[in-house]
């Protein structure tokens, strides 16, 4: 289905947030996920189903001042 990830529309072959993070090849411990402007805790990723046109933000901590 098509969803928006970090501002870009993408076609994804997965149905939940946990699968999405895995599909993107990311370490779950290092990212933070927002689903439709709501922060979703890692333990709830597998239960958070994706729907068409959902907005997902995947963030991580980087160096900064």
């Amino acid at each position: 289905m098509e969803i928006v990830i970090n501002g870009k529309t993408e076609h994804v072959p997965v149905v939940d947030l946990a699968a999405l993070v895995k599909w993107k090849g990311l370490r779950p411990e290092v990212v933070v996920v927002e689903h439709n402007e709501k922060i979703v805790r890692r333990k709830d990723w597998a239960e958070t189903r994706l729907a068409v046109a959902d907005h997902v933000e995947i963030l991580s901590f980087v160096g900064g001042g």
Binding site: F61, V62, G63, G64, G65
Partner: protein, 258 residues
């Protein structure tokens, strides 16, 4: 606890040197900088993952005893700053947040008005708020009333290394302050940090000057020494400036025909 601790929202810190994690040539320097500087608080930023590089995590490089101070850099409004702060807290970063709201891409001047609004919201939400602002003494007082844990006025633009160009306003803010004043941004040399401490600042935050030095670990130590020296000088009472000379040696008993 140490008798001259820096206290932020009831939490005591020995070090008055806060450090940043941006601009390092390599992340492995970060634990060595912490070791050399004895800094106990480090800023980090939050960004969208770059999928081509697999997701960075600066937190791996920061020793566990260090208190994380996520900043809201990237936020252009209070609402965006609040959102970033909540994301950082949800990620397990703790309750501290540096509010940084900037719309000026040239001088990176913070938006004091939006920063004040974000402070009000986040302080009520239980965050330990450290707002980064332009040195406006009126806004500094308003931030205190809004529940900030400290006020962080800039010395000069981020990364400019220009030192305490805003010193006259910093002086006023420090004199009026009921909370710690942490000079943040523009500190380019250890002597700038010492000057801020001599003036009565509670602490300084330094990123560029350490990270961009030829020897960041050595520079981190230099800054630690400067902050200690400046703080000690402040506590010991610097002499007043005068217009004219006042001799240091006696003016009588000279070995010559008078």
């Amino acid at each position: 606890m140490h008798s001259d601790a820096l206290v932020l929202s009831g939490r005591a810190f020995r070090s008055r040197l806060l450090t940043g994690t941006g601009k390092y040539p390599s992340r492995e320097m970060i634990p060595r900088v912490i070791d050399a500087s004895r800094s106990e608080i480090m800023t980090v930023a939050l960004r969208r993952v770059d999928f081509s590089s697999g997701g960075d995590n600066i937190l791996d490089a920061i020793p566990r005893h260090v208190t994380l101070l996520p900043n809201t850099s990237g936020a252009r409004t209070a609402a965006e700053a609040v959102r970033l702060a909540r994301i950082a807290r949800e990620a397990g970063c703790g309750d501290f947040v540096k509010i940084e709201v900037v719309v000026d891409d040239v001088f990176l001047m913070p938006d004091n008005h939006e920063t004040l609004r974000a402070t009000e919201i986040l302080a009520k939400d239980g965050f330990v708020v450290l707002p980064y602002v332009s040195p406006d003494p009126v806004v500094a007082r308003q931030l205190e009333d809004a529940g900030a844990a400290a006020v962080m006025p800039l010395g000069s633009p981020i990364g400019s290394n220009r030192g305490l160009r805003t010193r006259e306003l910093l002086r006023i803010i420090i004199e009026n302050a009921r909370l710690p004043v942490i000079v943040d941004a523009g500190i380019g040399k250890p002597s700038h940090a010492a000057e801020a401490m001599e003036m009565g600042a509670a602490a300084v935050l330094v990123n560029t000057a350490i990270a961009s030095a030829a020897d960041p670990v050595g520079m981190a130590r230099a800054f630690a020494l400067a902050v200690d020296a400046g703080r000690l000088a402040f506590r010991c009472g610097c002499g007043a400036e005068r217009e004219r000379a006042v001799a240091s040696s006696p003016l009588t008993g000279f070995l010559r025909d008078m």
